[in-house]
């Protein structure tokens, strides 16, 4: 029991952290075993309550995921026994003693991967796919997801409940799709993984600057999806998304200062970047360039590759970055892409040119839009306008690191 932590160090928050880190793995295994999302959630919920009672006293068990699985399984079996009369099919003895390993599902046997393909089934609307993935694989509470989407908690609860009911009642299967369906499913899965990564990269909740566990999980799942994608000729966008995540992740050690505020790209200590992740990301981007089938994720990865290639911000190849944004605007135009392009353009053609573009974008609910305006106005010497823009940016975000950074920028205006 050497892995046990001293009980005194273990408050309810620490238990919650452990539970959250293991949630996706445990729930996916339970859903695989019982074929019922609602039952798995109820059982795991009860196991978590027991963990909250016991772990602070007895210490975290050496294998928390295993402990949660065993305890939740017992609870699930209790439920099934109670429902035996009502629902005969659950009474099958094999079910009650099932400890067989999951049947293989192709190159990757992973309960979480099956769960993500279930959550991202095309029969579910995209907002429901993301919400369900964050709930089941990310272990976020409904309140946290609602706050991430800026919608009322009751609305989010209904959305998730509806999605789970559709999975159960319409018979959405719990498996990785067959080869023929994989290609069309992949786009939706990548979109959701990217949103999960983004929630991990810059959390939209007030309590955390980032959610490292979510970012790690998104990367882990993208790697797993990449292995499956090999089967259908490795669509380059899978590689593009992985490289994009790795190159963003590489900068994480330099992204958040000791006081919890964000450090922007210009000011990051580049020696703190993770060189292994950068090497891996660059290698994938080079491979993408060789294949020459650029898509949105590959282009964004290429932009990150140019940034991470510069040992000092002054050595950044802005011309190449603007060219890549031009391509990105061509394949997937959006106001956010236009905003990022304008930021790069400011380095080439000056803040006046960039501001004219930024002012034409309808992004008033988006904190980075205000922050970008503020910075451009500051560089143009329009201090009062800049101050107002920083205030608007602060009012538009809940993220504590972002708020701290914006406040410090506003302060430098005097």
């Amino acid at each position: 029991m050497s892995a046990q932590r001293p009980a005194a160090a273990l408050g309810a928050d620490a238990v919650a952290d452990v539970v959250r880190a293991e949630y996706g793995r445990v729930i996916a295994g339970l859903i695989r075993r019982y074929g019922d999302i609602g039952l798995a959630e109820d059982a795991l919920g009860e196991a978590i309550v027991i963990a909250l009672e016991r772990w602070p006293q007895e210490g975290v068990p050496p294998n928390p995921a295993g402990w949660l699985t065993t305890t939740a399984s017992r609870k699930a079996l209790d439920h099934l026994r109670r429902e035996k009369v009502r629902d005969e099919k659950y009474a099958e003895a094999t079910m009650l003693t099932d400890d067989t390993p999951p049947e293989p599902t192709g190159p990757v046997t992973d309960d979480r991967l099956r769960l993500i393909f279930t959550c991202c089934h095309p029969a579910l609307a995209e907002p429901a796919r993301v919400a369900l993935t964050l709930r089941l694989l990310g272990g976020l509470t409904v309140a946290e997801i609602a706050s991430a989407f800026l919608i009322p908690e009751t609305t989010m609860a209904q959305r998730i409940t509806r999605a789970k009911a559709k999975i159960a009642k319409a018979g959405i299967p719990y498996r990785i799709p067959e080869r023929a369906d994989l290609a069309e499913r992949l786009d939706g899965v990548l979109a959701v993984l990217y949103l999960v990564y983004n929630e991990g990269y810059l959390s939209s909740t007030a309590d955390n600057a980032d959610r490292q566990d979510l970012a790690d999980e998104a990367i882990r799942l993208t790697r797993a999806v990449r292995l499956i994608a090999d089967e259908i000729g490795s669509p380059p966008e899978v590689d593009g998304l992985l490289a994009l995540m790795l190159l963003s992740q590489a900068r994480r050690p330099a992204r958040i200062a000791a006081d919890g505020s964000l450090v922007t790209l210009d000011d990051q200590g580049r020696t703190n970047w993770d060189s292994h992740l950068i090497d891996e990301g660059h290698a994938i981007v080079r491979e993408c360039l060789r294949r020459n089938a650029p898509g949105p994720y590959q282009l964004q990865a290429a932009i990150q590759a140019v940034h991470t290639d510069a040992l000092d911000v002054s050595l950044t190849d802005w011309r190449q970055i603007v060219a890549l944004y031009d391509q990105l605007m061509h394949v997937r135009p959006s106001p956010v892409v236009a905003l990022n392009r304008a930021v790069a353009l400011a380095e080439l053609d000056g803040p006046q040119v960039a501001l004219a573009i930024v002012d034409g974008l309808e992004l008033t609910a988006y904190a980075p839009w205000h922050a970008t305006r503020a910075d451009l106005l500051r560089r143009l010497g329009r201090t009062n306008d800049a101050r107002r823009a920083y205030a608007a940016a602060i009012a538009t975000t809940e993220n504590p690191a972002e708020r701290a950074w914006l406040a410090s920028r506003r302060k430098t205006l005097g």
């Binding site: 089934h121 029969a123 159960a168 009642k169 319409a170 018979g171 959405i172 299967p173 799709p177 369906d181």
Partner: protein
């Protein structure tokens, strides 16, 4: 196994296709039907006469009423349907894709209640 209703909506705005087109559609649908039967997934299927033939009966009040016309005012109505057996939604969707191509219209897929 769950039973799924694959329904084919029609619209009052739809133009009546020519005889040739209808004959060809019947042929492709019959080919599809045979495939469903051969796979052992067939339960029941049928095309419906135009919505103008509908009559609505309502016996929920004091005395039953019989009214000429459909229950819903909507332009879309049920034009025809299949009831099939399928292992899960993915299989039902696969049949629906083939059915849609065969009948030349979109197909709505719904599970029958009771078999969660």
């Amino acid at each position: 196994m769950t039973q799924y209703l694959l329904s084919v909506p029609g619209s009052v705005d739809d133009e009546m296709p020519s005889d040739d087109v209808i004959q060809e559609m019947f042929a492709t649908v019959e080919k599809f039907n045979q495939k469903v039967r051969n796979a052992g997934k067939w339960v029941f299927a049928g095309g419906l006469e135009p919505i103008a033939t509908a009559t609505t009966v309502d016996a929920t009040g004091d005395s039953p009423t019989v009214t000429d016309g459909p229950f819903s005012e909507a332009k879309e109505y049920l034009g025809g349907f299949w009831v099939i057996e399928a292992a899960d939604l993915d299989e039902a969707l696969q049949w629906a894709k083939e059915g849609s191509a065969a009948c030349g219209g979109p197909v709505e897929v719904r599970p029958f209640a009771g078999e969660a």
